[in-house]
């Protein structure tokens, strides 16, 4: 039996691209790329830990950019952010396919890998849109608009531009409780930050940290939400389809305050 090579990486996109670089550099036939956190030592395998190297990852990304249009690049990145187990290997097949096809217009978009990737990217895109909709900022005493979220996929990197463009004149923070990091905008730029303040047990801003009329506006929003409902048209199935229960936790209008 031929032992299979497993490449372990830190979970970052640069880390993944470094793995792709290594695959080409060392001419590894059919490797498995996996996050360190998911590694389980198997028999008959060789595993190698790949150290993220931005020069290498940049070279791969540059190469990809010359081969496929930006819409397709976005799809690739989104699929990666899905964190679905094994997605790295589908992406590797896809990237190999791109590099081996001389001309992007010749790439067969009905190919199985590509279809799968665009399906996954679509799911991630949907989650991105949901977060753009379901983020609820709470204004704090130090005048920062804070929101906590627990998205199904790792969509924070996709949210930067939307929120930066829209809320250019207020400081804001969007924190992913599940993945323990957040985006912070300081009126100038967006940084990626981690905080000890939030945890799985402490998932939102405490009332004593609210700005003066924060609670009033939350209540006004609830009042509004309740007033626009038309009882004679009630349709719970449709309601749940648009607003699945798992998102309710952070929606002011769906909670008692």
């Amino acid at each position: 039996m031929n032992p299979q090579t497993i490449l372990l990486y830190d979970g970052s996109f640069d880390g993944f691209l470094t793995c792709v670089f290594t695959v080409y550099e060392q001419k590894i036939g059919t490797p498995i790329i996996r996050k360190e956190s998911e590694s389980n030592n198997q028999l008959f395998t060789i595993s190698e830990t790949i150290i993220t190297d931005e020069t290498k990852s940049n070279r791969v990304w540059k190469g990809i950019k010359t081969k496929i249009p930006s819409s397709q690049q976005k799809i690739l990145f989104k699929a990666f952010l899905s964190e679905i187990k094994g997605v790295e290997n589908t992406l590797l097949c896809y990237i190999k396919n791109i590099f081996d096809t001389p001309n992007a217009t010749l790439i067969d978009y009905s190919n199985k890998d590509i279809l799968k990737i665009s399906q996954v990217a679509k799911m991630v895109g949907r989650e991105k849109h949901r977060m753009e909709a379901f983020v609820r900022f709470q204004r704090t005493k130090d005048d920062i608009f804070v929101s906590t979220i627990e998205p199904d996929f790792n969509v924070l990197p996709l949210l930067i531009y939307h929120f930066k463009d829209r809320y250019a004149d207020q400081k804001w923070l969007i924190y992913d409780i599940k993945r323990s990091y957040g985006l912070y905008y300081d009126l100038d730029k967006v940084d990626i930050i981690t905080l000890d303040f939030f945890s799985k047990l402490n998932t939102s801003v405490q009332k004593e940290n609210y700005a003066d009329n924060e609670l009033d506006f939350q209540k006004l929003w609830q009042t509004y939400f309740n007033s626009v409902n038309i009882k004679s048209r009630k349709n719970s199935k449709l309601h749940l389809q648009h607003l699945p229960k798992r998102y309710w936790k952070y929606l002011i209008e769906k909670n008692e305050i």
Partner: protein, 419 residues
């Protein structure tokens, strides 16, 4: 202003505005300039959904529900014994900004009962929009519902600050209007629409010469009709709609199933159910007209005055025109593909894309995501098996109804899950 009073006003004035369905905040991009607040990306976001499954995207309120008119179908009418309230201009501005900053909404949809007269009311609506734009540097979405009978000068000013303007015709036929809204004249609706249309045309022309021409209602204008209040036929409704689309370059016409709000012998009784299914069929028809290349007389005419409720309008057209089929998936033009039941515009583009690489058969079509239970009877593809048979429309309809999961339960969305 006490918070409790504000809450009370909000509940009264949101409640009174909620029957207006034109919730779309899409169309008309507006960028965030000078590091102000907000932008409009051209794709309205639904920030929440009501329990009836409708999109909550805008703060939709009336400035006041005091009204000098007495339109029978309206909760706000003068003779109705209800609580009345009015916002101050600044209050609406504050609410909008504070909701927007918290990412609750995409913007403001402001309408009003008529107090004193049309211009007096419209002036206040315009003042809200002006304050938001000039004082708050707000670039989010603003939709002003124009008051019928507003003067041209005010309509001009309104368009400088609002993204979209609408005048709701409410009643699709002139005779219905006379019966139910005796205070309103047909011309009062037409005049502001005409003004908005002209301003937009003028803006577009001037813009070509002078880049700095101030923008005018970039998201265009829309209107709404109430369905099922006056016994009008679907043909009446869709012919009116077509007229408004053409004559005034409407961006959208909205159809709102009448929700009984009052006992009045001119109107359906309070127990009447909201015609949600009918409303859905009208929206489907509207889409067929705007995006699928159908003309209104193909779908509705003197022989077929009303849409079928049990099947969608495209399928019903197809059953009446079986000689048009079968269509060859691998050869037909785009506009022909668009006429196949079960195939939406998205699927059409997918077919066009995919057939460049190979001739498509049933498995390919399935993979693309086509509703084959309907489509299969109307097409041929790269396969020897085909389902197209010479049978009567009636039999075919029954076969299709039997094999499709019946969505025809009680409710439909106007968020349009089409075809």
């Amino acid at each position: 202003m006490s918070f409790e009073r504000m809450r009370e006003k909000l509940s009264i004035l949101a409640d009174a505005a909620k029957y207006d369905v034109s919730c779309a905040s899409s169309g008309g991009k507006r960028e965030n300039t000078n590091k102000g607040i907000g932008n409009n990306t051209g794709m309205g976001i639904c920030h929440s959904y009501t329990e009836d499954g409708r999109c909550v995207s805008l703060l939709k309120i009336l400035l006041t529900n005091h009204c000098i008119f007495d339109c029978a179908y309206c909760v706000t009418r003068k003779s109705n014994d209800i609580k009345r309230a009015a916002f101050k201009i600044q209050e609406v501005v504050d609410l909008t900004i504070n909701f927007y900053r918290r990412n609750y909404i995409e913007g403001l949809f402001l309408s009003s009962g008529i107090f004193k007269n049309s211009d007096y009311t419209m002036e206040r609506l315009v003042a809200v929009a002006k304050k938001l734009r000039l004082e708050e540097n707000f670039n989010g979405y603003i939709h002003l519902k124009s008051i019928p009978g507003t003067s041209d000068e005010l309509m001009r000013e309104a368009g400088l600050y609002a993204d979209r303007l609408s005048v709701n015709i409410e009643i699709p036929t002139i005779s219905g209007l006379k019966l139910l809204a005796p205070d309103k004249k047909h011309e009062d609706f037409i005049k502001p629409m005409q003004k908005v249309k002209n301003e937009i045309l003028q803006y577009k022309a001037e813009r070509k010469i002078i880049k700095s021409t101030p923008r005018y209602a970039p998201a265009g204008q829309s209107t709404q009709m109430i369905i099922g209040a006056t016994g009008e036929s679907d043909k009446d409704i869709m012919y009116s709609a077509t007229y408004y689309y053409k004559k005034f370059n409407m961006r959208r016409v909205y159809y709102s199933g009448y929700v009984p709000v009052t006992t009045d012998n001119r109107l359906p009784s309070l127990q009447t159910e909201v015609p949600i299914l009918r409303e859905n069929r009208l929206y489907q028809t509207d889409w067929l007209l705007r995006f699928y290349g159908f003309s209104v007389s193909e779908l509705l005419n003197d022989q077929y005055k009303n849409l079928a409720l049990d099947i969608d309008p495209k399928l019903s057209w197809a059953l009446r025109n079986l000689d048009f089929f079968p269509v060859d998936i691998n050869k037909a033009d785009k506009n022909i593909l668009a006429r196949i039941p079960g195939i939406g515009m998205q699927s059409v583009s997918k077919i066009l894309q995919a057939r460049k690489f190979r001739k498509l058969d049933w498995t390919h079509l399935k993979a693309i995501g086509i509703a084959l239970n309907r489509a299969q009877h109307f097409i041929i593809c790269n396969s020897k098996d085909f389902y197209h048979k010479d049978i009567t429309p009636y039999t075919l309809k029954n076969i299709i109804l039997k094999t499709s999961k019946s969505k025809h339960t009680k409710y439909f969305t106007n968020q349009l899950s089409l075809f």
